[in-house]
C-alpha cells in the first residue's frame, strides 16, 4: 500500500435490547462522540460510509433519514449494506484513491424493531427454501454445527465452553448487552433449546447498537498530530456460494479473506504475529470454525484453543476479550464493534478487559447465513 490509512477516532453505544432512543438519536450520539474522540470537526470530514439494511430497519433506503444525524450533510456519502467492517473497507478504498483524506464509517441496527431471525429467513432463496419454510439462520447454523461436530468429534460441551469464555469476558465490558461472569457449561447446556445443539446461550444476543470509526490517510494523520493512530495494515473480504451450494463445515470464504489480509499485512504466522483477535461469532461453534479458517488452529482442533485457555482473556492469543457477538450483536454494527474493540486494545483504552501489550490485532465481521460473507482487518499500532 502506498499511503497508509489509520483509525483516528471511534465510539460505540452501550448495546442493549430495546434502547430508549430513536434511531436518529442513537446514530447522532455515537457519531458526535467519535468526532470528539478523533478531535476533528464535522466540517473536516470528506466522505461518509454507513452500513445498515432496509429489512432490519423496516425502511426502504435505510440511511435516507439518517444522513443528517450521522454528519453527512453536504458530504460525499454512500451506504454499504450489511456489515460495518465491509463499510470500513469501502471507506478505506476511497481514501486510498486520495479523493478524500478523512472518512467517517458508521454501522447500526436496532434489533428490537423486528425479529432479525425473521429477516434472515427473508434472505433465503425465494424460489425454493423460502417456500418450503423450514430454514432460518439458527436452523441452518445448527445443521452446520452438527456437521462439524460429527466430522471432528467435537462435543456440545466444547461449544458451551466458547459461550462460557465469551459471556464471562463480557462481564468486564461495560458496552456489552449480555454479561454472565460465572455462567457454567452446565447452565449453557440447560438454556432454552432452539435447534439441536444450539441453545439460547450459544446464540448471539440481538441488541440495538451503533458504532462509528473515523479514518484518515497518512498525511492527514501527521498533520492532525494524532497521538495513537491505529493503522489498517491489511484487509480482505470474500463471499461464498449460497447456503445449499457450499461446504458448510469449513469457512473457505473466510480463509480466502484472511489470506488476502495477511498477505497485505505481511503476516506469515497468524498465531504468533497477532496479539489478539475480535471475531463475529453469531453462534458458539462459529468461533471454532472461524479460528480454524483464520489459521489459528488446524481443522477440527479449535476446541483445544478454548479448552486449554489459549484464547481466554489471559491466554496466548485472546479471542473476543470483549465478549464478541454472543455478548452483544447489533447485527450490522457487530463487525465494526469488533474493530472498535481492537482499537481500544491497541490504544490501551479497553478498561477492565484490557489485554496487556497488544500491538497487532485482527478484527472480523460477517454477514449472511452460516457466515457466507466475511471481512477481515489487521490493525496495528505505531
Amino acid at each position: 500500500m502506498e499511503k497508509r490509512i489509520a483509525i483516528i477516532g471511534y465510539a460505540q453505544s452501550r448495546h442493549q435490547y430495546d434502547v430508549q432512543k430513536t434511531r436518529e438519536d442513537l446514530v447522532f450520539d455515537v457519531a458526535k462522540e467519535a468526532l470528539a474522540n478523533a478531535g476533528i470537526l464535522r466540517e473536516e470530514l470528506g466522505t461518509v460510509v454507513t452500513a445498515s439494511t432496509d429489512f432490519l430497519d423496516g425502511r426502504t433506503i435505510s440511511n435516507v433519514f439518517l444522513s443528517m444525524a450521522v454528519g453527512a450533510f453536504l458530504k460525499d456519502e454512500s451506504k454499504v449494506e450489511e456489515d460495518g467492517a465491509a463499510a470500513l473497507q469501502y471507506a478505506m478504498m476511497k481514501l486510498m484513491t486520495g479523493t478524500y483524506d478523512v472518512a467517517l464509517v458508521e454501522a447500526h441496527t436496532v434489533g428490537w424493531q423486528f425479529n432479525p431471525h425473521q429477516v434472515a429467513a427473508y434472505t433465503l432463496d425465494p424460489l425454493v427454501d423460502r417456500q418450503i419454510g423450514l430454514l432460518n439462520d439458527i436452523a441452518a447454523s445448527a445443521i452446520q454445527a452438527n456437521m462439524y461436530m460429527n466430522k471432528y468429534g467435537v462435543s456440545v460441551e466444547d461449544l458451551a465452553a466458547v459461550s462460557v469464555k465469551n459471556l464471562g469476558n463480557a462481564a468486564n465490558n461495560e458496552f456489552a448487552a449480555r454479561r454472565l461472569p460465572d455462567v457454567s457449561v452446565g447452565e449453557v447446556l440447560k438454556s432454552k433449546l432452539y435447534y439441536e445443539p444450539l441453545r439460547e446461550l450459544m446464540i448471539s444476543q440481538t441488541a440495538d447498537g451503533c458504532a462509528v470509526v473515523i479514518i484518515a490517510s497518512e498525511d492527514k494523520v501527521r498533520k492532525l498530530g494524532v497521538e495513537c493512530p491505529v493503522w489498517i495494515e491489511g484487509v480482505g473480504c470474500c463471499q461464498e456460494a449460497y447456503l445449499r451450494d457450499r461446504d458448510l463445515v469449513s469457512l473457505s470464504g473466510l480463509k480466502s479473506a484472511a489470506q488476502s489480509a495477511y498477505q497485505m499485512a505481511g503476516i506469515t504466522n497468524p498465531f504468533t504475529d497477532l496479539d489478539l483477535a475480535e471475531v463475529t461469532e453469531r453462534f458458539a461453534h462459529e468461533e471454532l470454525l472461524i479460528c480454524e479458517a483464520l489459521g489459528l488452529a488446524r481443522e477440527g482442533r479449535a476446541k483445544e484453543l478454548v479448552n486449554n485457555g489459549v484464547t481466554a482473556l489471559g491466554g496466548d492469543l485472546p479471542v473476543n476479550a470483549s465478549g464478541g457477538a454472543l455478548a452483544a450483536d447489533p447485527i450490522c454494527a457487530t463487525g465494526l464493534v469488533r474493530v472498535v474493540e481492537c482499537v481500544r486494545q491497541i490504544r490501551g483504552e479497553a478498561g477492565t478487559h484490557q489485554v496487556p501489550g497488544v500491538k497487532r490485532a485482527l478484527a472480523h465481521g460477517q454477514f449472511g447465513l452460516c457466515a457466507q460473507k466475511n471481512t477481515v482487518l489487521i490493525l496495528g499500532g505505531e
Partner: protein, 170 residues
C-alpha cells in the same frame, strides 16, 4: 398509444411477502408537543441555536450544525404559499390507500378538486404540506398570503390544522 410492445412467455409464479406492518419503531415525543400546540391553536417549531433555522414540524437534529435543536418557538399562523399543485377532479378508484377507496368512505367527494400546497409560515425555514381551502384553483399563486384554518374544536391532533385559506382584504 403507439408504444412498441414485446410479448414474453410466462414463467412459474411463487409467492412471498415482507410484513412491514409487523415492525415497531421508536419515535420521539415531538409530534405530541406539536399536537398539543395545535390544540392551543399554536404552531410549534424547533430552533437551532447554531444556525438559527426554525423547523416545523419540530425535529431533534440540525444536520447543518450537527447539533440538537432543543429550543422551541411559536410560529405565526400566517404564511406564504411557496408551491402548489392542482389535482384533477376526484374519481373513484384513483386514490386507494390501505385497500380502501376514499370516495367510498366519504373522505373525498366525487368531483372535487384538491389543492395541496406548501406553506411557509412566517418565521419558519421549512414548509408545511396541507390543503388550500375556500379558494378556487384559478386564484392560487406562488407567493399568495394565507392563514390557518383551525378545526372548530381542536382536540390536540394533527387534523386540528385543517388547512390554510387565502387572506382576503375586507
Amino acid at each position: 398509444m403507439a408504444y412498441l410492445k414485446d410479448e414474453r412467455p410466462e414463467t412459474m409464479m411463487v409467492e412471498g411477502d415482507w410484513q412491514v406492518g409487523a415492525y415497531r419503531w421508536k419515535a420521539p415525543r415531538l409530534l405530541e408537543e406539536f399536537s398539543a400546540g395545535l390544540k392551543e391553536k399554536k404552531i410549534i417549531g424547533s430552533m437551532c441555536m447554531g444556525c438559527g433555522k426554525v423547523i416545523t414540524q419540530p425535529r431533534h437534529l440540525c444536520g447543518r450544525c450537527h447539533r440538537r435543536m432543543d429550543e422551541r418557538c411559536v410560529l405565526s399562523d400566517w404564511g406564504t404559499i411557496t408551491c402548489f399543485v392542482i389535482s384533477p377532479k376526484v374519481e373513484k378508484g384513483k386514490y386507494k390507500l390501505f385497500g380502501m377507496d376514499p370516495v367510498d368512505t366519504g373522505t373525498l367527494k366525487l368531483g372535487e378538486i384538491l389543492i395541496p400546497v406548501f406553506v411557509r409560515f412566517d418565521g419558519a425555514d421549512s414548509n408545511i404540506n396541507c390543503l388550500l381551502l375556500n379558494a378556487k384553483p384559478e386564484e392560487v399563486s406562488i407567493g399568495m398570503r394565507v392563514k390557518v384554518v383551525w378545526a372548530k374544536e381542536p382536540k390536540g391532533q394533527m387534523a386540528d390544522l385543517e388547512g390554510v385559506e387565502p387572506i382576503r382584504e375586507k
